[in-house]
């Protein structure tokens, strides 16, 4: 038992563990499972994706069955489970009804052309990940829209997209933005 705890400690960073502890403390003792969303978010911030190894470590740290962590991590679109998705910036263009009617397909084509990748891929320089088929993000009145990292951008045009991608490239990583 002790051996595996040591392992968990090295797999999860101190920052991740502190974050998880902080969230666990906010829930009643027998409801600590509720902190799982936050725990996975902590890992996302650190690695930009969640590896199976980290999920297992979270499961052990929080004393949950591994599958309970896999279920949650694979359910929410804000978690990426594929290492390929671990780019500095994550782009999610809504392709649901309202956005589609307002031209999201063209936005998607434009981004694919600009970055030279298809939806679901990352740029070779690790700068951008283009998420596949994002569902309605509840900003239909500003369609077409996209989410760049954690920020909503609405009423998109090709020019607006170009400017956004450019500034993202300059401003560096998601992580920096989050903490600043």
């Amino acid at each position: 038992m002790a051996g595996s705890n040591k392992q968990t400690a090295t797999i999860l960073s101190k920052h991740e563990r502190d974050d998880i502890d902080m969230w666990i403390a906010r829930f009643p003792e027998d409801r600590s499972q509720s902190a799982l969303l936050a725990a996975l978010r902590a890992v996302m911030h650190e690695d930009h994706y969640i590896s199976t190894e980290k999920m297992d470590a979270v499961a052990e740290y929080m004393d949950l069955p591994k599958i309970a962590v896999y279920e949650v991590a694979s359910f929410y679109s804000m978690y990426e489970l594929d290492e390929k998705a671990a780019a500095k910036n994550s782009i999610s263009v809504c392709t649901n009804v309202s956005c589609m009617l307002n031209g999201s397909d063209e936005i998607v084509d434009h981004i694919e052309e600009r970055l030279g990748i298809k939806m679901g891929e990352s740029t070779p320089d690790g700068e951008f990940f283009f998420k596949i088929e994002e569902e309605c993000l509840a900003a239909c009145c500003g369609a077409p829209m996209m989410q760049l990292n954690h920020v909503y951008h609405e009423n998109l045009t090709k020019e607006k997209v170009d400017a956004l991608l450019e500034s993202a490239r300059k401003n560096g990583t998601l992580h920096k933005k989050e903490t600043s």
């Binding site: 599958i67 896999y70 694979s74 359910f75």
Partner: protein, 801 residues
């Protein structure tokens, strides 16, 4: 909260289903009331032993005043409720649900093992349309390999989550889950992984579609071609009800039967998949005699005559009879009647036991002391020397239910074990220290109860010094309302079994706990009742002359051995000693379904017997329930049911009273003797404490408990089960002990092998690190191939590089 619930439960309400009035418990779900009234409501996700998920929507029914149809599985009944299960509204809803469920279903029934017994197939016959509005491409789910026992075809899954809930609620291991979302949701393990639970096969039975089917029987036959017979599980002492499926007279599949007071609707993987061993390669086709070292097939009369002559020619004192505790009551009773009829008293079935001091003081048979179902109501359970989860999975299931209800569970074992519920405390004591630990606790219980210490115990009590943790332990038992003290198979194998048993009994009496035995094979109880012990005849009646017990028979070799379905290299405590005894014997007569190499080299007459599915008979379980069963198929080739072999052998030997026509006659005779027997023996503890065999172990002590899948001749031949447990053939030590013994080097090598020496024999076997083994001990399971060359299961061993 619980109080109001209780009051509500007593309240009956009146509801009407399809315009007929029914009384129902308030708070129960509509589907339960309908089921009780035999009104069928279609369902997929609902299962009466699992929590309600209400996710399939197949059970929609019309309820008065409700705007939309309601799911019957999740709608509590209310007084005056009016329900229609077959109205137009209900039927439309059910039909529409069916259409949705079939959107992504592959409809590959012709190549699906579930075909013909599929709930989806049945309900689509009743509610399905002949065309679908869904014209798009169906999804496909990639299968994962989840081990040797369960085969997956997840494209067929309808996400009812029965299997997921089973893992969480019944087997206590969440291994399957629903990953992904929406139309991409999949049921699976996410990562490739074998299911680990000893109950995993039950998900095959509860999966309503063909997503989870039995791997070993895959594509063997169609369900409508099979014949079903009721049977009894033969690998533990619970007597789970099973259903045996035969195809062209061959046993091809086993599924769970229902018996709420025994196994509910679950069975262990061992009872489900052991059938594969029935047709093992070394199954014996015809009677055989060995002449000048050469085996020759002969007819039955010649074989029986030869056996009879052998038995007649020697002094009965030099005959040893060893029989399996898995044999039926009928076989056991006839065997002892036959042997005692010719003057043989050396009769035993306790092949793994080495301490027999207290045999006179045993009840009619070692028993649970309560009903299996009652274990659920315990609020404190103490397990002594028992890996109950692996040995008696259905008893463990009841203990788990108790634990989930708040019962505290304590264990005293030679190694740490993994349980599928919270165990309050596990005391780990090397086999030789178990008596000390139990003495401590028992002593503490007397300090607390202030009752008089039984005579003879005083010396033992003096030998230990009270400590706090023992006191806390005893206190917990005393404070419980329904405490149970159980002693198990590991304890039974120990050199100090009788002392442990007496202490456990005294502890139970003193703390007001139920005392019970939770070990044994399918018919250990029957063996005692039938008189298959050297010191008692049938129904616990006294013998004129006490014969030798199993250990004595092998320790002081006999001239003739008569074996009933036993393979001593795996079934006896000390294989080395047992094989040597057979080796030196003049003749060995074996009634057995199988003959492996060892059997062929040691035996002289082989009388092939039917396998468990090929004979009628009776097993008596650990709570004392007699369960009879019929043969599911004909005997293999020229093999015969053992009771018939014994009956004819009785005739050959001119023993009186051997003219039974059916196995029922035999059972009825024994039953009658039992009913007539006036004073059957009761557990007595007086005068036992002094006789305590202590073992002095200088170096390394072996923990030789019997592996889950090696406990008897049938399961040892069940391929899928064997393939799912590779570690059984290894020796396991903790890291410190490995270092101490200088074996660390073996771990870094490609093949991690070490030399294990016991009783002068050296065996090479893999080394596995297991931190749950205490210092000074090595886990080396009994019953395996390599342990068949070694000595006593809990003896001393030496391990070198």
């Amino acid at each position: 909260m619980s109080k109001t619930n209780k009051n509500a439960e007593d309240n009956l309400v009146t509801i009407s289903i399809n315009d007929i009035e029914h009384k129902a418990k308030a708070g129960s779900m509509l589907i339960q009331v309908a089921d009780a009234a035999d009104i069928h409501i279609p369902r997929f996700c609902y299962h009466n032993k699992l929590t309600v998920a209400a996710n399939c929507r197949m059970c929609l029914v019309e309820v008065e005043k409700a705007p939309k149809p309601l799911p019957a599985c999740a709608t509590p009944v209310m007084d005056g409720m009016k329900v229609w299960t077959k109205s137009e509204k209900a039927l439309t809803a059910q039909k529409d649900t069916m259409e949705f469920l079939l959107i992504n279903h592959p409809l590959d029934c012709p190549i699906c093992d579930q075909g013909g017994e599929c709930e989806l197939q049945d309900l689509s016959m009743a509610f399905g349309g002949d065309s679908s509005s869904f014209q798009e491409i169906k999804r496909v789910v990639v299968d994962k390999d989840i081990g040797e026992l369960v085969s997956t075809e997840m494209t067929r899954c309808i996400q009812c989550t029965r299997c997921v809930r089973f893992g969480e609620e019944i087997s206590g291991m969440r291994e399957l889950g629903a990953t992904g979302r929406g139309d991409r949701m999949e049921i699976g393990t996410y990562v490739e992984k074998s299911l680990d639970s000893e109950l995993s096969g039950n998900i095959i039975d509860i999966c309503p579609v063909g997503a989870l089917t039995a791997k070993p029987s895959r594509y063997q036959s169609r369900s409508w071609e099979m014949l079903q017979s009721e049977g009894i599980g033969s690998h533990d002492s619970v007597g789970s009800n099973v259903r045996l499926h035969t195809f062209k007279n061959k046993l091809v599949r086993v599924i769970a039967g229902d018996n709420d007071s025994i196994n509910e609707c679950w069975i262990s993987d061992r009872d489900r998949f052991s059938y594969q061993g029935v047709y093992a390669k070394d199954r014996v086709k015809s009677p055989m005699i060995k002449k000048n070292g050469i085996w020759k097939e002969v007819d039955w009369s010649e074989a029986l005559e030869t056996a009879a002559t052998m038995l007649q020619e020697v002094n009965p004192d030099s005959v040893g009879v060893l029989a399996s505790p898995r044999a039926t009551v009928e076989e056991q009773y006839l065997l002892q009647k036959l042997m005692r009829g010719i003057g043989v008293n050396n009769i035993d079935h306790r092949l793994r036991q080495i301490d027999f001091h207290d045999q006179e003081n045993t009840d009619l048979f070692p028993n649970l002391g309560m009903s299996i179902a009652d274990i659920e109501n315990a609020d404190a359970v103490m397990l002594i020397g028992s890996n109950v989860r692996k040995e008696q999975p259905m008893i463990n299931h009841r203990i788990r239910k108790a634990a989930l209800n708040g019962a505290k569970v304590y264990t005293l074992n030679p190694r740490e074990l993994s349980f599928n519920y919270d165990v309050t405390e596990q005391i780990i004591a090397s086999p030789s220290e178990m008596v000390t630990q139990l003495t401590l606790i028992t002593k503490a219980s007397f300090t607390l109860s202030k009752k008089k210490i039984p005579a003879g115990l005083k010396d033992l009590f003096k030998s230990v010094r009270a400590n706090k943790s023992a006191k806390a332990f005893a206190e917990n038992l005393m404070n419980a309302k329904n405490p149970c003290v159980f002693i198990g198979s590991i304890a039974e194998q120990l050199p100090a079994y009788s002392t442990l048993r007496v202490l456990a009994h005294v502890l139970a009496t003193n703390t007001g706990a139920n005392f019970g035995f939770v070990g044994g094979a399918a018919n250990t109880s029957g063996a005692w009742i039938a008189g298959l012990v050297p010191h008692r005849k049938e129904a616990g009646q006294a013998v004129n002359e006490i014969g030798k017990n199993a250990s004595e028979m092998l320790n002081h070799p006999k001239k003739i051995y008569f074996l009933l379905d036993v393979e001593l290299e795996a079934d006896a405590d000390n294989p080395q000693q047992a094989l040597a005894a057979l080796n030196q014997a003049d003749s060995v007569i074996a009634v057995t379904p199988y003959a492996n190499k060892k059997m062929l080299s040691n035996a002289d007459v082989i009388l092939p017997s039917a396998a468990y599915s090929e004979t009628s008979g009776t097993f008596v379980n650990i709570e004392g329930t007699w369960q009879s069963f019929k043969a599911a198929s004909k005997s293999y080739e020229n093999a015969r049911p053992a009771w018939k072999i014994l009956r004819v052998l009785g005739n050959h030997l001119d023993v009186k009273g051997f003219d039974y026509v059916s196995s029922r006659d035999v059972r009825d005779e024994l039953k009658e003797l039992c009913d007539k027997a006036e004073d059957t023996p009761k557990f007595e503890t007086t005068g036992l404490f002094a006789e305590h065999d202590s073992v002095n172990v200088k170096s390394l002590q072996r923990i030789g408990e019997v592996g889950e899948y090696v406990c008897d001749s049938l399961v040892r031949r069940a391929k899928a089960l064997q393939d799912s447990q590779p570690d059984h053939q290894a020796v396991q030590l903790n890291t410190d002990e490995i270092k101490k013994l200088g074996l660390a080097k073996a771990l870094s090598a490609d093949e991690q092998k070490v030399q294990v020496k016991q009783g002068g024999v050296m065996v090479e076997m893999p080394l596995v690190v297991n931190e749950m083994i205490p210092d000074g001990c090595a886990l080396l399971m009994a019953g395996t191939k390599s342990s068949g060359l070694l000595g006593s299961a809990f003896g001393e061993i030496v391990i070198t590089l």
